[in-house]
């Protein structure tokens, strides 16, 4: 096999996948945990049919080894076989769970560089999004897994905008508010004011933390970094953020966007509860409030029903200088996908 030398990602040489369109075929895989039940799959494939998209199934999506969909070798083989298949134009993990990080040493990153394809997921899939984005210099997508891309109208609209279009996502809007009642956190609570511009990177904090000190550690210089988690105690969020701060990960970053972080409140984990714990908001102010870069908390991505699809590797800007939530501007300035004909011309 030809070993492609993969240059470090930069604005000039970033690889973009072809936008997904009607008539295309996608590969359904389970690099982390298996399908809960066969019925979960049926609902997702019905949605693909509605969109006019065909699919091929990985052979291990229903297998099980501990909480993983088969052993590491089997999951890696499935993932790479479908990626290598020239009829497949997008790789759509059915769900996250646990186990994707275990695959990283088994992957041939030159394959993903040679054949740029759409990869969409969140939570455990973060490990693949960050590693493949960096090692293969490819735009990858932090968005709903296949089993969740139809969860709400907002989620589905941003999914289509991100992977089925060659236009930039543009100014990001929030899902509509309920007419009555309150919601916490607000979608764009300003933790630190400022303005920043850079390429996007990020994902689920637990997974990002798990890549620290490894060859796949997240690169943050000049980036707008988005992070979120689910059902974690605030002190565990603090420990992970403190690790990133200690490692200098925000020293040269352009901005930080913290997601809604569903269930991340004292007692939320049911796992390691401590008395008198702070809120995530208080922790963010202590750890990220004085870095000199813009920071917001509450954007809807990751473990919430409403979620934006965020492409890793495209230019974006964050402006929190106004200080008020309703003045925060988050723009994704650059398209994440290219048109198939543009690729053929190259």
């Amino acid at each position: 096999m030809r070993s492609a030398s993969i240059e470090k990602p930069s604005q000039n040489n970033i690889r973009k996948p072809c936008a997904l369109k009607k008539g295309d075929t996608v590969g359904i895989v389970a690099p982390s945990s298996p399908a809960f039940e066969a019925g979960n799959l049926t609902f997702a494939t019905d949605w693909l049919q509605k969109l006019g998209i065909k699919y091929k199934l990985g052979t291990h999506i229903g297998k099980s080894y501990s909480s993983y969909a088969g052993d590491d070798q089997a999951r890696a083989e499935d993932f790479q076989r479908l990626w290598d298949d020239d009829e497949v134009s997008a790789i759509l993990p059915l769900r996250g769970g646990a186990g994707a990080t275990r695959l990283l040493p088994l992957l041939d990153f030159s394959l993903f560089a040679r054949k740029p394809k759409i990869l969409v997921g969140f939570s455990d899939i973060t490990a693949l999004l960050v590693a493949i984005h960096q090692q293969s210099n490819l735009v990858t997508f932090h968005g709903p897994t296949l089993g969740l891309m139809f969860e709400t109208a907002y989620t589905h609209a941003y999914y289509q905008k991100a992977v089925m279009s060659i236009s930039p996502l543009g100014a990001v809007s929030d899902p509509p508010l309920e007419p009555w009642g309150s919601e916490y956190p607000p979608r764009r609570l300003v933790i630190a004011p400022g303005k920043g511009r850079g390429r996007l990177t990020g994902g689920c904090l637990t997974l990002i933390r798990g890549l620290m000190g490894t060859p796949y550690e997240m690169e943050t210089a000049g980036r707008i970094v988005f992070l979120e988690d689910v059902d974690e105690e605030p002190h565990n969020i603090d420990r992970m953020l403190s690790q990133l701060v200690l490692a200098g990960k925000f020293d040269n970053a352009a901005g930080i966007i913290i997601g809604d972080c569903s269930g991340c409140r004292p007692g939320g984990s049911k796992r390691s509860i401590l008395p008198l714990n702070m809120s995530v908001e208080a922790i963010l102010k202590e750890r990220l409030g004085k870095l000199g870069i813009p920071v917001i908390f509450g954007l809807k991505f990751g473990h919430t029903a409403d979620k934006i699809t965020l492409p890793l590797g495209v230019m974006a800007s964050l402006d929190t200088a106004g200080g008020a939530s309703n003045q925060v501007r988050f723009d994704i300035e650059e398209a994440a996908c290219v048109d198939k004909t543009a690729i053929l011309k190259k």
């Binding site: 646990a98 990283l104 000190g213 002190h235 200690l246 490692a247 714990n277």
Partner: protein, 326 residues
């Protein structure tokens, strides 16, 4: 060059600090003082031990000040921690490591305070001690054993508990447990290896990854434990060790007590032992599970940095040098 602290003498003053979470209640501090007095030492509680700042015992500045003061104070012979919890990671960029190297003293901790033990050992090259925080000392035997350990005295000599190779009286607690471990040890890869011991909490070790405080793992006998955590989360952190390519460089791996760890009501999950074994077997890395090492008072106190020999097949660890300067 490894720096060793002096062992303790009767009436030595011991600082009782809370660099992470605070003791559960004011009487927990009184209890810790009584435990230390019962060992024949003089307890000196940190000024901020009962402060509150979120789940921590005071602000970062307050906790740091207690620790720095105790390190600087020549009248303090040892620093023991009252409890673990959360917060010690915040302190490590600002600790006076030079002072610690110049005035080495016994620092004992466990759980979250593992961050401090790793960082202080790495930055100052001083032997630090992984064993228990004071809130876990729960028997008269544990009080006696800990006093003997840090005084360099044999514990239980002549009793039936002592294993056949009772040749290193400096580490009686590990010797006592040797025999027990041999009965229960699970060893996916059995071998005898020598190396310097590095011991601590798995979550804390991985929390230092990518920072300048990340311990050097190459050629160490790496001993790991954790508490109150689910198998798949433990596997996440073990996976970090594995994919970092650093696991492959350790001489041997010893897994201790994983207290209150397990599937924690999640169905369809293998044990942590099996999740670790698939990769240590692939690496042919000498490994054993169920070493008497962890956070409870019946666990061995493990000094970081000493040369030792581990027999993973038998589940025994033998030190090749003393932990103390005298």
């Amino acid at each position: 060059m490894l720096i060793k602290p002096p062992s303790l003498k009767s009436k030595d003053r011991i600082a009782l600090l809370a660099p992470a979470s605070r003791p559960a209640k004011p009487s927990a501090l009184k209890r810790a003082e009584a435990v230390v007095s019962a060992m024949g030492f003089v307890p000196v509680a940190g000024a901020h031990a009962l402060d509150t700042h979120g789940a921590m015992a005071g602000t970062d500045q307050a906790r740091l000040s207690d620790l720095a003061t105790a390190l600087e104070d020549d009248s303090i012979a040892a620093i023991w921690f009252l409890t673990g919890g959360f917060g010690s990671l915040h302190l490590i960029p600002d600790l006076p490591y030079d002072t610690f190297a110049k005035k080495p003293k016994i620092v004992l901790g466990a759980d979250d305070t593992s961050h401090l033990l790793f960082a202080m050992h790495k930055q100052a090259h001083v032997v630090t001690f992984y064993g228990n925080n004071l809130d876990r000392i729960d028997s008269k035997a544990a009080v006696e054993r800990m006093a003997c350990f840090f005084s360099g005295r044999a514990y239980g000599a002549g009793s039936d508990d002592i294993g056949p190779d009772y040749s290193a009286p400096l580490f009686p607690s590990m010797q006592v447990k040797d025999k027990v471990v041999a009965d229960f040890c699970y060893s996916p890869v059995a071998a005898v290896k020598e190396g310097r011991v590095l011991a601590g909490n798995l979550t804390a070790l991985v929390s230092l990854f990518g920072t300048r405080f990340e311990p050097q793992l190459a050629e160490t006998i790496l001993l790991l434990e954790d508490r109150n955590e689910r198998n798949d989360i433990l596997d996440r952190w073990f996976t970090t060790l594995y994919i970092s390519n650093k696991l492959a460089t350790v001489a041997a791996l010893g897994l201790g007590h994983f207290e209150n760890c397990g599937t924690r009501k999640s169905a369809n999950m293998l044990s942590f032992e099996e999740l670790v074994a698939d990769r240590v077997s692939a690496l042919n890395l000498p490994t054993c599970f169920n070493l008497p090492f962890g956070q409870s008072s019946d666990c061995a106190i493990v000094p970081l940095g000493l040369k030792a020999s581990i027999d993973t097949g038998a589940g025994s660890l033998r030190y090749l040098e003393s932990a103390f300067a005298d």
